[in-house]
Symmetry: C2
Subunit: 208 residues, 2 copies
C-alpha cells in the first residue's frame, strides 16, 4: 500500500543521463552500465515516478542494445507520449519562437554568403565543413528542432514534472512554460537525497 | 440603435487589399485610392466590424502617407492587438511548426552548399543572388516569419473573425486553427453582397 505521507513526484528523463559521457559519469562508463546503476537507486524511491516519451526511448535504443534493457527499466520508466491534441500552450510562445527564428534565418544566410566568398581563398571541402558548422550553430543550437524535443518538454508540462535534460533548447522552453528542470550532472545527488528521505520516513512510520 | 436582426460579423484585414497591386485592383490604382474606395463601401455595412493589428497598420504606413488616411478609416478599422498573454494555441501546432522548420533548415543548407560548389563555375555576385533567392524560398516562403503575421492570425483567432489575407503562411495557420479566411481578390464582391443584404434587411424593417 502506498503511503499518503509523501506526495508522488514526477520526473521526465531525457536520454542524456544515460548516453552523454559528460553527464553520465556519475552513473556508469557505458549507457548499459548507467541504466543498471540508475535502476539500482531509483527502485528504492517509491516517491518518484519516472517518465520518458516513447520517441525519446527510441533514441536511447540507438545507444543501447534493446535486449540488454531489463524489465525493471520498463516498469520503472513509464513511456508516455504527451496529450498533444488536448494540451494548449500560451500564444506568446509563438512570438518568441518566430522572432528567434527570424534572427537565426538571417544568421544562416550570412554564414552561407561568407562561405561563397571564401571559396576562392580556400579549399572547397574545408569551406563546406566550416559552413555546415556555422549554419548548424546559427539554426540548430539552443533551439528545439525535433518532435522528440517537443515530446519531452510537453510531457513535463502536462505532468507538472521535473525535466532532467542537458538540451539548451528544452531548458529555454521549460523556462517559458514554467516547467522545473535539473541538469543531469546533479541528478544522482538528487536521487540519493530522495532515497534518504524516503528511508527516513519509512522508519519513522515503523516506529510509530 | 443597433438592430439585433443581423449578427455582427468581424473581419481582420491584412495590408494586401490596399497595397498588393495584384489583388488591390478591385479597389483602386494606388493604396490611397484603394483605402478611399474601401471606406465608401464599408461605411454602408453596419453589420461588419473591421479590425487590424496596430503592427499591420504600421506596415500600411510604409505605403501610404499617414496624413492622407482619413479619420473615417480610423473609426472604420479598429486597431487591436491580440491578447497574446491570455490566448492559448493547441500544442500540436508546435509539432507541425518544428517539423516544417526542420525540413526547411535542411533545404537552406543544401542551397548554401550548392552555391559554394557553383562559385568556380560562375560569377560570385550572380551565385550569391541565386543563393539568396533559393534560401528565401526554402526558409521564408509559406511560413509565418514575423511578429506582424502572428498578430494577424492570433487576432482573427481571438475574435473568431474572417481573415482577409493573401499570405500563404497566415492561411496555413488559419487552416490549423480553424480560422475562416478569404483571398483579397474576392473581398470586394464579399463587401458588395453584404451591403446588399444589409440594405434589404433595413428596408424590410422599415416596411414592417
Amino acid at each position: 500500500m502506498e503511503h499518503a505521507r509523501y506526495k508522488k513526484e514526477k520526473v521526465v528523463l531525457d536520454t542524456s543521463i544515460f548516453v552523454n559521457p559528460d553527464v553520465r559519469a556519475d552513473f556508469g562508463d557505458t549507457p548499459t552500465e548507467a541504466i543498471e546503476s540508475f535502476i539500482s537507486i531509483a527502485a528504492d524511491i517509491p516517491a518518484l515516478e519516472f517518465y520518458m516519451p516513447p520517441s525519446i526511448f527510441q533514441e536511447l535504443l540507438n545507444f543501447v542494445d534493446e535486449k540488454k534493457i531489463s524489465g525493471d527499466f520498463l516498469t520503472l520508466i513509464r513511456q508516455k507520449p504527451p496529450k498533444k491534441h488536448e494540451l494548449s500552450t500560451p500564444a506568446f510562445l509563438l512570438y518568441e519562437l518566430i522572432e528567434d527564428l527570424r534572427e537565426r534565418i538571417n544568421k544562416g544566410l550570412r554564414a552561407a554568403e561568407k562561405a561563397v566568398r571564401n571559396v576562392s581563398k580556400g579549399d572547397e571541402k574545408e569551406v563546406i565543413q566550416t559552413l555546415r558548422r556555422n549554419y548548424r550553430e546559427a539554426l540548430r543550437e539552443g533551439i528545439i528542432d525535433s518532435k522528440e524535443d517537443v515530446d519531452l518538454i510537453l510531457l513535463a508540462f502536462e505532468l507538472d514534472a521535473l525535466l532532467v535534460t542537458i538540451d539548451h533548447g528544452a531548458i529555454k522552453w521549460a523556462e517559458k512554460l514554467g516547467v522545473r528542470w535539473l541538469l543531469p550532472n546533479r541528478f544522482k545527488d538528487y536521487l540519493v537525497s530522495y532515497r534518504k528521505r524516503c528511508a527516513a520516513e519509512v522508519s519513522e512510520l515503523e516506529e510509530s
